[in-house]
């Protein structure tokens, strides 16, 4: 008997939770974010940012008189869950658009679901493959990996370095960066002497950096988003590998600088301008947007704003902008995104087209460095100083 009872209970639960009371005057926006789990440092600020912005928009009367209804699903960075949630949001909730997922692996998993469901997907994940090749309904707001790599290679050229060692973690992010480095190295005249992939939970990387030292590389490029990116610079300095260290845009989190302490000094990495908003010149296009977001976020949540939360900011604001121009017709809104030109966001100035679903160019990255435990723009003068400094150490 209990089997049937259980089935009945189960079905009752199912039915109760389904009742979709659709208030006609709202726009439903779904979000699949890794609020907890191994990518929580991405998903948590993204979720907070969206909640803050949606509250604010609704307080000011919504978009075109309609309030936004935000549905956040915590995927815990699991691609299976992301897939399940994407189908739920599209088929059941019939959302207008989906923001997220936070990681590239999850995004690639649901790309085809969004396409088949004809639902706009604004990913907050970095990997280039999300928008290249272009899928009709899939967009992304973080800057491209290839641009980050290109900026790093330009910097290497300025410093006269051509032989590098590459370390990356065994995650989707690490893999995507490694592929771009391998692809772009020949055209920039860079040789990769050592190319190692380490475990994302690595607790010490002394042996890996020793391999780099033995190969006598001119610079170390590390591509990861885990604590390992702070561990690697510490270990490199400890064994006396005093070459310039380059990191990915994943380093844009002041926590890692604090964790690496003195070893973080002089690390160079490409990042959006949010981290250096205060020091931007007065007339800079992004300055006011960045300062406002930073101030709002930091007052509300009492923690440092990160570029990751900024990706969610850009995704939501681009969606709002598209609805303002084209109304709540999904197809028209999709076309409207492709027509957005010169939209100022936290990640850069977005100009979309049917061929470009990212909308950012290589200049959306600024080369930053760490000075006295803070992020600062790597100005030309400092670059020279950096070079001298490194030579002295050698």
């Amino acid at each position: 008997m209990r089997v049937f009872k259980m089935l009945a209970v189960f079905l009752a639960i199912a039915l109760v939770t389904v009742s979709p009371v659709l208030a006609a005057e709202t726009i439903k926006i779904g979000a699949i974010l890794a609020v907890t789990g191994p990518a929580a440092f991405l998903g948590a600020p993204e979720a907070k940012t969206l909640e803050m912005l949606v509250d604010d928009i609704n307080k000011h009367g919504g978009v075109k008189g309609k309030k936004i209804e935000l549905i956040i699903k915590d995927s815990g960075a699991s691609p299976e869950k992301a897939l399940s949630f994407a189908k739920q949001l599209i088929e059941e909730e019939k959302v207008f658009a989906i923001i997220g997922p936070s990681t590239s692996g999850e995004t690639m998993k649901i790309k085809s679901v969004a396409e088949e469901g004809k639902t706009i997907l604004l990913s907050c994940a970095a990997a280039e493959v999300i928008v290249n090749p272009v899928a009709k309904y899939v967009f992304k707001t973080p800057q491209k990996d290839s641009h980050a790599v290109a900026r790093i290679f330009e910097q290497l050229k300025k410093q006269g370095i051509s032989k590098v060692g590459v370390l990356s973690s065994n995650t989707g992010f690490g893999k995507a960066g490694k592929e771009q480095i391998e692809k772009l190295a020949p055209e920039h005249g860079i040789t990769i002497a050592v190319n190692e992939v380490y475990d994302k939970a690595a607790s010490d990387l002394t042996a890996e950096v020793t391999k780099l030292k033995a190969a006598n590389v001119g610079a170390l490029i590390n591509w990861s988003i885990e604590p390992a990116q702070a561990i690697v610079i510490k270990n490199a300095r400890q064994i006396g590998l005093n070459v310039p260290i380059f990191q990915s845009h994943g380093f844009g989190n002041i926590e890692y600088v604090k964790a690496a302490g003195a070893a973080a000094e002089g690390v160079i990495f490409p990042a959006g301008r949010l981290l250096v908003a205060d020091t931007l010149p007065k007339g800079h296009a992004q300055k006011s947007v960045l300062l406002k977001y930073k101030k709002d976020y930091e007052t509300k949540f009492k923690e440092d704003a990160s570029t990751f939360g900024g990706h969610a900011y850009d995704a939501l604001m681009i969606m709002v902008k598209a609805i303002e121009t084209a109304g709540t017709d999904r197809e028209k809104a999709r076309t409207a995104i492709e027509n957005i030109k010169g939209f100022v966001g936290t990640g850069g100035v977005f100009t979309f087209s049917p061929q470009d679903h990212n909308g950012l160019d290589v200049n959306s990255f600024e080369m930053l460095t760490v000075k006295n435990g803070k992020f600062v723009v790597l100005a030309d003068g400092e670059k020279k100083a950096e070079k001298k400094d490194v030579k002295k150490k050698k």
Partner: protein
């Protein structure tokens, strides 16, 4: 015994149909998506249930077998053979009709192994590996056995993560749909939902029948063979679901825990428990507390109902009910 065995299976099949009909009449067909995914996970649970519950062996690396089967199929069905078309092996394969041409996501043509051939190959390879490592590993005892299975799972996981051919951290996406019979395709498309629900749970029913038959026959001698066969069923399940595959050690522990809280030697308990937990997790009912709830359930059940929440007595009660007898009191 055999009468009850069939009764159980028929009841199970009836519930599977009942759930589908219920979703149909209440207009909640989208639930089938998560129901189907839970079905495939249930196949792993059946294999584990046999190993832990009936054979008395612990395996924390079971997801390793799941991954071998899944990755082999995914790799073979997505690997583009166009460039080696002229080669001897490819030529032989195409003559025997084992190759298919299909269109990839971006309109290009790709030539790859037929899903059926890939699947059979995957099952064979999983069985062989299970057989090879089963011998020495099963000689170990207690925690040493647990470590060996965990180690096996880790090795599979790390090889996949370290190999470009298996997509490293991204896994393999865009595994083609699986044509069982003309018109019967395994895929994630919404229009195929009902069909895929039945394929998934049909496999579970087949697995259950296989297991029940084995359990009720002279089991001992067949142990190693079963070990492989069950895992191969898991392998078949995962690729058909068009899942992107990711092996995970943590998930292995989750499966063991599910089997334990379902009642160790209790196939039905484990199945229902696994189904409910996976389903709720895939629906996102617990939000950011998903893992915490799982941990709390684990502890609570192990503290207060160590024989499993859904005990065998459950079915004794059902049987007693049908035969008109008074339900017996729980034995503990």
């Amino acid at each position: 015994m055999s009468g009850h065995k069939y009764l159980q299976t028929v009841l199970f099949a009836a519930s599977v149909i009942a759930i589908q009909l219920a979703t149909f009449f209440t207009g909640t067909g989208h639930y089938l998506t998560q129901l189907t995914m839970s079905g495939y996970y249930s196949l792993v649970i059946i294999g584990l249930c046999l190993l832990i519950g009936y054979a008395g062996q612990i395996s924390i690396g079971h997801a390793g077998f799941f991954a071998i089967g899944g990755y082999t199929t995914a790799f073979l069905t997505t690997y583009d053979l166009s460039s080696v078309k002229a080669g001897a092996v490819a030529g032989l394969l195409s003559k025997t009709g084992m190759l298919v041409t299909r269109e990839d996501l971006y309109g290009g043509q790709a030539l790859s192994l037929h899903p059926w051939a890939a699947c059979l190959f995957a099952i064979a390879i999983t069985v062989v590996i299970a057989y090879l490592i089963g011998g020495p590993v099963l000689k170990l005892k207690g925690h040493y056995l647990a470590m060996a299975t965990l180690g096996f799972g880790t090795i599979v996981y790390k090889i996949v993560l370290g190999s470009e051919k298996f997509g490293a951290a991204d896994g393999i996406s865009d595994v083609p749909g699986f044509l069982l019979l003309p018109g019967l395709e395994v895929s994630g498309k919404p229009s195929m939902r009902v069909m895929n629900y039945y394929i998934s749970w049909g496999l579970v029913i087949a697995g259950v029948m296989l297991l029940l038959n084995l359990v009720h026959s002279r089991v001992g001698r067949a142990l190693r063979a079963i070990h492989g066969a069950e895992d191969a069923a898991g392998a078949m399940g995962i690729d058909t679901a068009k899942f992107k595959l990711k092996a995970s050690i943590i998930k292995s522990v989750r499966y063991v825990a599910i089997v334990a809280i379902g009642g160790m030697a209790n196939l039905w308990g484990s199945l229902i428990m696994g189904f409910i937990l996976n389903f709720l997790s895939l629906r996102g009912y617990f939000g950011t507390y998903d893992d915490a709830v799982f941990g709390a359930i684990l502890i609570a059940i192990m503290l207060f109902a160590p024989e499993g929440l859904l005990r065998r007595e459950l079915f004794k009660d059902v049987r007693a009910f049908f035969s008109g007898k008074k339900p017996r009191e729980g034995r503990q």
